[in-house]
Symmetry: C2
Subunit: 390 residues, 2 copies
């Protein structure tokens, strides 16, 4: 408890953009987010005064950080599960706790758990030798059980030759692997929910996440042309996962939509890229909601505030634009006076998420092209006129 | 220019809640607000890492702070005009500049200027001796030309005896004084606009500001039952003031509504309490807009996002509630799941603005009682059931 303010202190492990935006939400609640970051020039340390430098894999650093906080939460999934168990054993409040978080850290643990719950998932198998993949059949998807993100740690295998060229090196490097059925999907969706320690749940409208080269480029809220009963079923699925796993905080369930319904792809237990649209687009943002859950406050209303909301990621361009970010922002605001811009203070590198843009409007047809143009402009310093979303 | 981020550095003089909320807006724009504060436990230094401690009346402190910034702006009006002129002479970009800001610092200068522009103001006169007040007549309002806020520096005089008891001591203490006609008003309104260095102007819908004991307690957006032509005239008046005075940033024009129209009460050249509703209630918040203006970015859309928005100030209660702020917030969220809360990290003292609550909805009749109940609860730790806004 911060004796001066009378509020518990929330500490977030990780100093990326999720911590940065959570700090903005914390400020409104009378707080200042405490951050454990590896480097002082990460997005969150640049904007919060309550920063501890240390590595999230260093138990002593975690312990020292936790000593100044009432509750620990996360900007990413990279804290070793055993460190979190050690902290919990020492009396630290960790939300989500290690028994929940492990399902976002380890895809094999997650797959077994969801299978046990009877939830729709792709067929999968653990891989401890090449033969496991050959037996599973092709085409298939090979995944690192731990550590992958944004398309890393995922390999498409079409043949035995592919498997024999990829698997032995990965196993030799100690990468835990699983293989999954390649799902014949129409598109990707995400169900974003939050759960409090008391068990209260709340869910935002289901969204479509548009991927390019394994990286999310756009989020459409609500997911266009989605049958209401399918959206509801997906929301119920996500709430069921949150309850069954004992999640505290925001849970993002990444889904594949197939002909027959949805299949769970990945889980994330923290504010998630698929929920950035909620900052302006929903009554309560995912960042405030995550804090409310972690603080055991009642959860906020999740209603959308416009019929169509699009969030487009600003990704570092292949070649850095000649025009600096300040000048690009100037031009952006001249063209789109209603664009909501979020820049993360990150150096521009090709493909890196350096910010996002959100637009709200009456219809997807109006909003989506504008969001895409805005994000592309901020990335590349060029206008994609004639841009067509189809 | 911050070489790392590629953005100019904005420095705000003053570390209060306006700087705190401006920091939240700066973070979205890829920045971190630099703050000159008197003490490290003010609202903004609690949440920004870029803090210089120093007094805003100390020219050397201002100079040292300005050296690390590309543009200076303000959380309050208390920087001596001559210091700002000195900084401008040394090449510092100051927005709003001293020639504009003096009209928010000195009511006598402001009254003369607005009179010269032919704008509607109360009758007024400078007071250098008691005789000036006696000659002006009663009832009247005596005002300190500089330094007043939230009802301080304002005295209602009903008789010569009142004047003779108040004026000599004030003059002896060196307080510059003016006397004004007591306006027969229906209510108070505020016109909030922004102006860029390039001369672009933008205005939000006109609001009603509800005062109690000289302190604003509620802001109703848009002002209920206001004739559209009167609202437009007031907006035009505010834009005209912004242009005539060369304001850069947000300008709040506090107005009295009379039978015949509006009369200008005060000016503020910074984000203002009457504009806190814009954080959730308008497409662009006053805090982002102030930054855009100061950075010479094109201004953002000012459309409201709901038919009725009410902001209620959370004022320190006469007796501090037994229940701490964390528990009060918990109960608030349990009752009002759509309440937007902003707490400033300030110690609770009677009458002090420690936060605000904003509610959005379909009608004033729905939103206003809920906002008032929410703010009273956060202040007092008691529910005013049976509350009636009329």
């Amino acid at each position: 408890m911060d004796a001066r303010t009378g509020f518990p202190v929330v500490g977030m492990v990780g100093g990326g953009q999720l911590a940065r935006m959570t700090h903005q939400a914390a400020v409104a609640l009378g707080q200042s987010l405490h951050v454990l970051a590896v480097s002082a020039d990460e997005p969150a340390p640049l904007v919060s005064p309550n920063v501890t430098l240390g590595h999230h894999t260093d138990l002593d650093a975690l312990r020292a950080f936790a000593a100044g906080c009432d509750v620990l939460t996360f900007d990413h999934e990279h804290v070793p599960t055993e460190h979190l168990r050690a902290l919990v054993a020492e009396g630290v409040a960790v939300h989500p706790g290690p028994d929940a978080l492990v399902h976002a850290q380890d895809k094999l643990v997650m797959r077994h758990k969801l299978a046990g719950l009877g939830l729709p998932i792709p067929e999968f198998a653990e891989v401890t030798e090449v033969a496991d993949v050959l037996k599973f059949g092709f085409p298939c998807v090979l995944k690192a059980a731990r550590g992958g993100y944004d398309g890393r740690g995922v390999w498409m295998l079409d043949s035995a030759a592919d498997a024999e060229s990829a698997v032995p090196d990965l196993l030799a490097a100690g990468t835990p692997l699983l293989v999954e059925q390649r799902v014949d999907m129409r598109r990707e969706l995400a169900a974003l929910v939050a759960r409090s320690p008391f068990g209260q749940g709340a869910c935002w409208p289901l969204v479509e996440t548009v991927q390019r080269a394994g990286i999310c480029v756009e989020v459409l809220a609500p997911a266009p042309d989605l049958a209401p009963e399918r959206a509801e079923a997906a929301q119920e699925l996500a709430l069921r996962v949150a309850n069954a796993l004992g999640v505290v905080g925001v849970l993002a369930v990444e889904l594949f939509e197939t002909e027959d319904g949805v299949v769970v792809n990945e889980l994330a237990m923290r504010p998630h890229n698929s929920g950035h649209w909620t900052i302006e687009g929903a009554r309560t943002s995912q960042f405030e909601q995550h804090l409310r859950a972690v603080l055991d406050y009642p959860l906020g209303a999740t209603d959308p505030v416009a019929p169509a909301v699009v969030m487009a990621n600003v990704l570092g361009a292949p070649v850095a634009p000649q025009m600096g970010p300040d000048e690009r922002l100037h031009h952006l605001f001249a063209r789109f006076r209603d664009a909501h811009v979020h820049l993360y203070g990150k150096q521009e590198r090709p493909g890196r998420k350096i910010g996002h843009v959100t637009l709200l409007g009456a219809s997807m047809a109006d909003v989506r092209p504008r969001a895409a143009l805005a994000a592309h402009w901020l990335s590349h310093g060029e206008w994609l006129d004639g841009y067509d979303i189809h």
